[in-house]
Amino acid sequence: MSFNLTMIGQSIAFFVFWWFCQAKVWPLFANILEQRKQKIADGLEAGARGEKDLEQAQVKVTEQLKEVKAQAANIIDQANKRASQIVGEAKDQAREEGQRIIAGAKAEIEQEINRAKESLREQVSAIAIAGAEKILESSIDQAANEEMLSKLAAEL
């Protein structure tokens, strides 16, 4: 076991390698691991944030759903009201129309009756005149007149 320059050489190599390692090797891996740690932390944080966001979104969705349901109910309500209103109006209109038609029909009937009466009167007077002429042509016979008149009257 003898000591010689090899020992000095190894010591120099030792310090050179140490320097190289701390300057050129160690920081590379320290950096990468640090970055990865940061990235994982960021990812986890983002995950937690996403979960929270999701929860909030769900709460919001439930709220909005409730609101929307209320609105829908409201709209249906209004629609129902409007429908019944329309139906009511339609009924009123129909009744009025019916009455107007009835009134028109009655007026026409009245007119028809009047017309019929008029023509009847004309015919009656014609008949009366014709009867009078006949009576005048034949002798004036009371009994016959009576009979004729009653016949006339029956004819009216």
Partner: protein, 295 residues
């Protein structure tokens, strides 16, 4: 493994006489040494004796070369992976490197209380570097060494060239690292506590100022025991492992294949464990160096 060992052995025999077990092991435990010869000239040592004679002014080209090659390869590979790494879709290799990174980072986080961003990269460098250097022990002992011996003989004309490929079986390598850690312990102790604080920690603990000599007797050896135990523990474990591989390869003949396998399985535990121990102790020592006591 057995065939290759035999082939290598045959190749060695081809160059010279057959090796005895002792020669084989000595060959494998010697280094490819470059240094100052006794006559003052610089060059490769041709025999183990020559290498020993060089004394301090020599370098183990093989272990230091492998150590630097492995360290550079690991750091460049990690940098390459880190460069093309993505945050979102990490590939298989990136996952693997990140796993090691996070493992080391967690150990530093629980073992080091100070605020020094340089400690974690230090721990990563030590851990992966030592694991890879230790893993070289699993390469069958004659593969690369045998090839290198052939290359040495036919290309460079070196007879019986040694070529050790496991840097952590070289006490110079392990002590080089543990003494570097020791230098860091001293540097940070003085930086964080001040020279006075550091010296008073040696002098006034654990028994207060009236037992100063006694404190010094306890604390100073404790301080120096740190780098020595750190370096020698790693060296001892790997050296013993390597030696057993060599004994199996040199003495067991045909039976060596299962024996190698069994020992390699045991050694698989030692390889990461020793790297882990070296890293953890470095973290603990440097943590103590950063702690400032208020008494």
């Amino acid at each position: 493994m057995a065939e290759l060992a035999e082939a290598a052995q045959a190749a060695v025999e081809h160059g010279a006489e057959a090796l005895t077990v002792q020669e084989y092991i000595t060959h494998h435990l010697s280094y490819l040494t470059y240094g100052k010869h006794v006559d003052g000239s610089w060059g490769l040592a041709h025999t183990p004796e020559e290498a020993v004679d060089m004394g301090f002014w020599s370098i183990h080209v093989d272990t230091l070369g492998w150590s630097i090659f492995i360290g550079a390869a690991f750091l460049l590979f990690f940098r390459y992976i880190g460069k093309q790494a993505t945050v979102d879709t990490p590939g298989g290799m990136q996952n693997f490197v990140e796993m090691i990174f996070e493992f080391v980072d967690a150990r530093v986080a629980e073992g080091f209380n100070g605020k020094n961003p340089l400690i974690a990269p230090l721990a990563l460098t030590i851990f992966v570097w030592i694991i890879l250097m230790n893993t070289m022990d699993l390469v069958p002992v004659d593969w690369i060494t045998g090839l290198a011996t052939l290359v040495g003989e036919y290309v460079f004309g070196l007879e019986h060239m040694s070529f050790k490929i496991v840097p952590t079986t070289d006490v110079n390598i392990t002590m080089g690292m543990s003494l570097s850690v020791f230098a860091l312990i001293l540097y940070y102790s003085i930086k964080m506590k001040g020279l006075g604080g550091f010296l008073s920690e040696l002098a006034f603990h654990p028994f207060g100022k009236w037992m100063l000599p006694f404190n010094l007797i306890i604390e100073v050896p404790t301080l120096f025991a740190k780098p020595i135990s750190l370096g020698l523990r790693l060296f001892g474990n790997l050296y013993a492992g390597e030696l057993l591989f060599l004994l199996i390869a040199s003495m067991l003949g045909v039976v060596q294949l299962p024996a190698h396998f069994v020992w390699a399985v045991f050694h698989l535990l030692v390889i990461p464990l020793q790297a882990f121990v070296f890293m953890m102790l470095t973290i603990v020592y440097l943590n103590a160096a950063h702690e400032t006591h208020d008494h």
